[in-house]
């Protein structure tokens, strides 16, 4: 026995953003629009609650599912903010980031050889996560002409009808696309007709700018087949705390918790204390951060419009996804980095359907954003 990677690990290529990361790290004074996390620090009250919990010596494990005080607050918050009603005792699991939740769902709710339809472009972990779980993947590329929304047409065309489950993320990373309740209705009908489970990554649910977020689990006949994933990373700017949660029918959560209790035991305790405070006292700061993102979004979209870069009006998360003016987006991104010191990520790094586009993260202060836009403008003109 040697310490060679297992076949299913070997089958997963290194992340497509790795090369850009290495290039960018070698350079000084770059402005990065390639960051997938907020530029704000976590709200001070949440940080302070974490410090206080440490001072009090609250450093032991918590219940596997997470502290009950946290789960009851999440339950109340989700009910008020997204109309989702889940029992904090049986239908909710606090995880180390939404990413852990998704990994648990792939492993606990799918069998090796099952098929997972993955709406793309998407966050980089879905396909590898499925592969690690021995699950086969059906790529479901969304289309620029649909503004990267998931439609019945692309689900049918990709063969998702044969899949056992569907995973998607709206508001979307990397496109910034959102879906309204009406648009989700078609997806829901498709999933019911073809008996697909749904893993709905709603980590950006509170970062929408043109319409309220709708969770697919609120649509008729969907609650029983859906697990919803959310967390504190994006809207609360708490990425480094590693705290997310999954909500779903009791049977699904119990299965996920079985994997969780033997692997993670419990989500980070300090982070759970911070999250309790975040839900109690930091919602105003979330609103303020959201307002800031919206201004930057308007700024970036206006500038793209002026410089003639085609970009649909992305209405969520903190990404815009303009068409790349060159045929090869990878080459463009590399040249932009070398010549103008602006880092962006080519859409191809996020799977099928992203090619020919660029992910622009506007989680960056306005002054830097302005400089970056000026540089992009001079680069493309």
């Amino acid at each position: 026995m040697t310490l060679e990677p297992a076949d299913r690990v070997d089958a997963v290529p290194p992340s497509g953003i790795r090369r850009f990361f290495e290039l960018a790290e070698e350079m000084d004074d770059i402005i990065s629009l390639g960051v997938g996390e907020p530029d704000f620090s976590a709200p001070w009250a949440a940080r302070e609650a974490a410090i206080t919990s440490l001072e009090r010596g609250q450093t032991s494990y918590t219940a596997n599912k997470g502290k009950r005080e946290l789960r009851t607050r999440i339950s109340r918050f989700e009910d008020g903010a997204h109309g989702l009603s889940y029992d904090p005792d049986d239908e909710m699991l606090v995880t180390a980031g939404a990413s852990e939740g998704l990994d648990l769902a792939f492993r606990a709710l799918l069998n090796p050889g099952d098929t997972l339809a993955v709406a793309q472009p998407c966050y980089v972990s879905y396909v590898p996560g499925a592969t690690f779980a021995g699950v086969d993947v059906v790529d479901v590329p969304t289309r620029a002409e649909d503004e990267f929304k998931l439609t019945r047409e692309v689900l049918e065309a990709s063969g998702a009808a044969e899949a056992d489950a569907l995973v998607y993320c709206y508001p979307n990373n990397p496109t910034g696309a959102t879906m309204t309740g009406d648009e989700l209705r078609d997806v829901a009908a498709f999933c019911r007709e073809h008996d697909l489970a749904v893993f709905a990554d709603e980590i950006y649910a509170d970062l929408t700018y043109e319409h309220e977020h709708t969770s697919i689990a609120t649509l008729p006949g969907m609650r029983e087949r859906t697990v919803v994933f959310n967390g504190f990373s994006k809207a609360f700017a708490m990425t480094g705390f590693r705290l997310g949660y999954a909500m779903g029918p009791e049977e699904a959560i119990t299965a996920m918790n079985r994997v969780h209790q033997y692997t993670m035991l419990s989500a980070p305790t300090t982070a759970q204390h911070a999250a309790i405070e975040a839900l109690d006292n930091c919602l105003d700061e979330v609103s303020e951060m959201t307002a800031q993102y919206d201004r930057r979004r308007n700024y970036v979209l206006s500038r793209f419009d002026e410089m003639g870069l085609e970009c649909f009006p992305a209405a969520g998360a903190f990404y815009a996804f303009p068409e790349c003016p060159w045929d090869d987006a990878d080459e463009f991104a590399e040249a932009l980095l070398q010549e103008e010191k602006v880092a962006v990520v080519p859409g191809s790094a996020f799977g099928e359907g992203g090619d020919g586009h660029l992910r622009i993260s506007y989680a960056t202060g306005l002054d830097e954003l302005k400089t970056a836009m000026n540089r992009i403008e001079s680069f493309v003109s």
Binding site: S32, V35, G36, Y123, N173, R295, Y299, A343, V345, A349
Partner: protein
């Protein structure tokens, strides 16, 4: 839809945003932004634009001495708070003046080139005003936050340059 109030919020955050920046960030056109700002200025809603200065970070040459002063006053039939405030606010040394609740009446901030100058100003100009019964002066030793801006908040961007 953007509101006129949003222009105030944005200028409050950074008064150096250009008309073009403001138009890009909101649903207003540049000429609408200009009009809104002009209206706020005319109506006395926007009364000025100033930099937030951390004087402590400046070389000692330019250092300013600042003090907050608690003032107690005695009113009579002919004199109200507004009358006294008018007299005090006129001095250029006074950078802010507020009527407050609690143990004293006015809270003013005074600025000068030296402690001596500030002390003389309080004893020669403010204290002799007939209605003023007491002054308590607190020299500012260090400032950590002004107008919502924390000085040296150690909040550097330590994110990875590219992340998924």
């Amino acid at each position: 839809m953007s509101s006129r109030r949003e222009i105030l919020d944005l200028l409050g955050e950074n008064a150096r945003y250009t008309t073009e920046d403001l138009a890009h960030m909101t649903d207003f056109t540049e000429s609408e932004v200009e009009e809104i700002v002009a209206e706020f200025e005319d109506a006395g809603v926007i009364t000025g634009y100033q930099a937030v200065v951390n004087w402590d970070a400046l070389d000692t040459d330019g250092e300013r001495v600042r003090a907050t002063v608690e003032l107690n006053v005695a009113l009579d039939r002919e004199t109200n708070y507004g009358d006294i405030a008018d007299r005090i606010a006129k001095f250029p040394e006074v950078t802010s003046l507020r009527l407050v609740s609690g143990d004293y009446d006015f809270d003013l901030t005074v600025e000068g080139d030296s402690m001596r100058e500030v002390s003389h100003f309080i004893s020669d100009k403010v204290a002799p005003i007939p209605e003023i019964t007491q002054t308590v002066t607190h020299y500012i030793m260090e400032s950590y936050k002004e107008q919502g801006m924390e000085f040296d908040d150690h909040d550097d961007d330590d994110r990875l340059s590219i992340s998924p």
